[in-house]
Amino acid sequence: MRARVAHIASNTFREAVRDRVLYNLIAFAGLLSGAAILVGQISVDIEKLVVINLGLTAVSLFGIVIAIFIGIGLVSKEIEKRTLYTVLSRPVRRWEFIVGKFFGLAGTLVVNTFFMAIGVFAALFYVSHKFVRADGLILVALYFIVLEFLIICSLALLFSSFSSPLLSAVFAFSLFVIGSFAEDLRGFAGMAHGITRWLVTGAAYLVPNFSAFNIVSSIAHEQPVAAQLILHNTLYALFYAAMALSGAVLIFENRNLK
């Protein structure tokens, strides 16, 4: 059982890599080096700030886009194009398929982020010529970004399990945007009355809350991160991903594959 999940995961990873996903790293590297060089020449004492802000934001955005498109592509497409039939005619349970895909996707993104992280630190070194203790915070920010990716992947899988590739991408991206403003949504809920209040509150809790994960600005100003926050975010990401994956499994197990 576990072996099958692992095989599906590694196959997913291989498909993603061969699909030239990792070429995005080239674009990323280009962007970052260009920015670093430019900033190094302007030298208004905020080079480090810009590199960190730009670098981490780019890691986040590139990753989200990849997560959504690869995530959708590797599952929705598989269902549409019937590569799935030959897989499911083997002693593979449907839930193993979903879980395996998730780990394959997550793995792809972690590897991608790893290379991007190297790029960010390289750019940082180029502008600052040394590393300080506070730069360790960047690793925390990257960790939070990876947690965000896990959530997005699980959502991509959830939507793929019942929706077409295009719609799945649209839903996943929308949830990413809404999730970034989730804290405001909860604020709105607090100001509403009656039924609207309950509906909006429910939505605010269902939507992935990314507000707590975005510490890019604060670490750029070298604010420390509470250990409690790290724990909280880890748990939240795990539970949320579990929720979305359970939903995906539930739908996929009971779906007629036409």
Partner: protein, 313 residues
């Protein structure tokens, strides 16, 4: 023990925007396939062949009914280790090579790690795919993909294979090769269940066939039985360059080719014809019972269904 027992499998889809209308893809089907035979599942496009296969594979859930495959419940995942499936117009992961793909499938089917490489090579050879190392599947032609499809279906030495239109996309040589392969599988003791709308293939291969049309079973049995119709015609061949009057008198349908004449006559005129030839001192070459072709049987069954009153789908 029959290889496949289908007991009343039925599938009705709800269509339309509000999912109110019902479309019956498969009426309750009762069918048995015996161990070690090649079984053909025939029917025109849209008859329900693929639906049946998908039901058996667990890709689609039946509205009612159930089935047994190799003695176990058809939803039992353990069954899957012993069956192979080739879907219609298969499509595979674009960016893998044939070796990688088959290796992946072998992993999923539980083939022991030591065995995998050997099996993959052997199977690729068997389906006639040589020199495909390092070539990604997106570069394969349709025929090559079909062979890959067959390869993944037999890779893990299943006892029972399901082929959905196995000949599609193949040129005549390819089709011959697949036919030979299927014969080989039968000789290895495997059961082959395949669906097709090409009757000549079925005629050449199958021990038994079932004919399905508009979701309903129209006939099952050995080809010989099905086509040994009540027509009772006989073909008589003799050496001559012309048709004697006595033969013409029998109302025979005669064709002259070189120095041979062929004629189709009723079975009960057989003796009279032989006597006539003897009288004329003509040399009898052959006397063969005429079977209705499967095609004729097929068309007849379908037409009868069309003209049946009160049939709704």
């Amino acid at each position: 023990m029959p290889a496949i027992e289908i007991l009343g499998l039925e599938k009705t889809y709800r269509v339309g925007f509000w999912r109110k209308r019902q479309k019956c893809a498969l009426r309750p089907l009762h069918l048995q396939v015996e161990d070690g035979e090649i079984f053909g599942f025939l029917g025109p496009n849209g008859a329900g062949k693929t639906t049946t296969l998908k039901l058996l594979m667990g890709l689609v859930f039946p509205t009612s009914g159930w089935a047994r495959i190799l003695g176990k419940e058809w939803t039992d995942p353990e069954v899957k280790a012993q069956i192979g499936f080739l879907p219609e117009q298969p499509y595979f992961y674009d960016h893998l090579t044939a070796h990688e793909l088959l290796n992946y499938y072998a992993q999923l089917s539980g083939v022991p790690p030591k065995e995998r490489s050997r099996r993959v090579d052997r199977t690729l050879q068997r389906v006639g795919l040589k020199d495909v190392h390092g070539v990604q599947l997106r570069k394969f032609s349709k025929g090559m993909l079909q062979r890959v499809g067959i390869a993944q279906a037999i890779l893990h030495e299943p006892k029972l294979v399901f082929f959905d239109e196995p000949m599609s996309g193949l040129d005549p040589i390819g089709r011959r090769e697949v036919r030979d392969l299927m014969e080989q599988l039968k000789q290895e003791g495997k059961t082959v269940f395949f669906s097709t709308h090409i009757l000549s293939d079925a005629e050449a291969l199958c021990d038994r066939v079932a004919i399905i049309h508009k979701g309903e079973l129209r006939g099952v049995g050995a080809i010989a039985d099905l086509t040994s119709s009540v027509q009772g015609k006989v073909e008589i061949v003799w050496q001559s360059t012309q048709v004697p009057a006595s033969m013409k008198a029998l109302g025979a349908d005669c064709h002259i080719t070189g120095d041979t004449v062929r004629a189709i006559i009723d079975e009960n005129q057989q003796d009279a014809a032989i006597d006539a030839l003897r009288r004329e001192r003509l040399r009898l070459i052959a006397l063969t019972p005429v079977r209705t072709s499967l095609e004729a049987y097929f068309v007849e069954k379908l037409q009868r269904a069309e003209t049946s009153a009160g049939r709704t789908v």
